[in-house]
Amino acid sequence: MFSRIKKALSGPNEPEKEEKKPVEEKPQETSSPTKPRVGYIHLSGCSGDGMSLTENYDILDVVLMDMVDIVYGQTLVDRWDMPEMDLCLIEGSVCLQDEHSIKELMEAREKSQLVCAFGSCAVNGCFTTYARGGQQAQPQQESFVPISQLIKVDLALPGCPVSPEMIANTVIALTEGNMTYLQPAIDLANCTTACGCDLLNNVIRNARCTGCGTCALACQTRALNMIEGRPHLNNARCIKCGCCSTSCPRMWLPVNQIKENTGL
């Protein structure tokens, strides 16, 4: 499962045999081999992404119940040892002063074909960027970094939380091997910082802004207002999730996917 995507991600040099090994070695897995095995790991985040994931039971139960097997995840599956996974969704940044989190992250990387930084905290740190330690009950825990600083991430889904629709779209694209859809999320995998001022640095300062307002629609904390045709950032409200610039049509535009969706 996913070997085609994995192959596309890892480039032509990596031997394909090695990538397939985890799947073949685990015939005792209870889940059907044709359904991708999806795991979910919660590091330092608010659980919002996990809640968003489970919302799909309601709106798109076909996706999560029929198309994939959820094989690992607190509150989702009654299992404590980490199984092999085709896809592991990792929510939250990782605390450098928390050995358990680091170990879990490393283990997840070893046992998963694909790792998805799931939600902005995992992708770029999001509001955990503001952490500075000195708080009970773990005053020593002060450094929370995006997971891609410690492991290789295959795709990233920013969002605070990621919308249920986006999760469903991604899972469907993964099962279908739809690289067209996945490519932007793959290209976001290495992004490790974000802020509302990315709009200034990357869009407005580069003469790309049109004043469309999509960034302000995307901002989940209403840190952005539109003033005189440009987004205006209220820094105090910005949680550094990166959703504004990720959604800006002048950063990147999925022309082919839109044409496919609309038939236009």
Partner: protein
């Protein structure tokens, strides 16, 4: 295709004199919104209003014909209607939303529908996307310059603005004034110079004045929803049409402008790329 994918091209105008009086050209956008509201296709529409009556547009949510008409008429500065969708969905609690937007906003909306990273439960509430032809858009200070410095009129006294036949025109309390469109060049926002869509290629229905005679609009129906709505508005007599082949200047002019915009933006993107300035990444 230089006009994007479309099912039918027509020349059309709203039959209602109330719409004709306040709307730009044929009043198609207003007529379609009103019809969609009356038919229950949408519960509300995000439109570019002029809340302070100073030509600085801002999105407003219209839930009835009067509110649509209040916002009728083209504004030549940016109204962040995509942001207005948030208000329609969250504050107004609307489940079926329509909007009238320019092509770059259409791109933002279509991207949000395709990749709703943080944009939860909005994409599927958007039931009608009317696109308007757009060559460029001006910051308020540019409009102010045209009006105050070039035509000696306060923006506050301007009753109507219009671009057509190579001129930027204003109707003020003391008559009509204009400047050649050439004089406005360079005052547009810079983002417009890398825009390659003149006719809102991803809309349900696109409309604008170019191609049709005075008082009429050119219409391109694109999606099935767009065709259905337009046909039904014609059927109930809210909109009258003429074959586009029978009007002057017709599609050739529209095609020429659309192609001109594509060529120009391509050149500008190349120029910027050479300088090392990033332009939108296309997937």
């Amino acid at each position: 295709m230089v006009l994007g994918t479309y099912k039918e091209a027509l020349s059309a105008r709203a039959t209602d004199s109330k719409i004709q009086k306040v709307a730009q050209d044929g009043g198609i956008a207003s007529a379609l919104l009103i019809h969609a509201l009356e038919e229950g296709i949408i519960e509300g529409a995000v439109v570019a209003g002029d809340p302070n009556d100073d030509w600085a547009p801002y999105p407003q949510v219209a839930t009835n014909a009067d509110e649509v008409l209040q916002a009728a008429g083209t504004k030549y500065s940016m109204s962040p209607n995509v942001f207005g969708i948030k208000e329609a969905a969250r504050q107004f609690g609307l489940e079926k939303i329509g909007t009238v937007v320019v092509p770059c906003q259409m791109q933002g909306i279509r991207k949000a529908q395709a990749y709703p990273f943080s944009i939860r439960f909005i994409g599927d509430k958007i039931k009608l996307l009317i696109g308007i032809f757009c060559m460029e858009n001006f910051p308020m200070a540019s409009l102010d310059t045209f009006s105050e410095a070039m035509m000696d009129s306060s923006l506050n006294d301007v009753k109507k603005m219009d671009i057509g036949k190579g001129k930027f025109r204003i109707n003020t309390t003391d008559g009509t004034k204009d400047i050649p469109l050439k004089k406005t060049h360079g005052y547009e926002q810079s983002g417009c110079n890398i825009c390659n869509d003149y006719v809102a290629e991803w809309s349900d229905v696109s409309t604008g004045s170019v191609g049709s005679p005075d008082g009429w609009s050119t219409v391109l129906t694109r999606t099935d929803n767009g065709v259905d709505l337009f046909t039904s508005a014609v059927d109930v007599g809210l909109i009258e049409t003429k074959p586009i082949e029978e009007v002057k200047p017709g599609l050739p002019l529209l095609e020429k402008l659309a192609k001109g915009k594509k060529d120009k933006s391509k050149k500008e993107i190349e120029r910027r790329t050479k300088m090392g300035i990033p332009t939108p990444v296309l997937y």
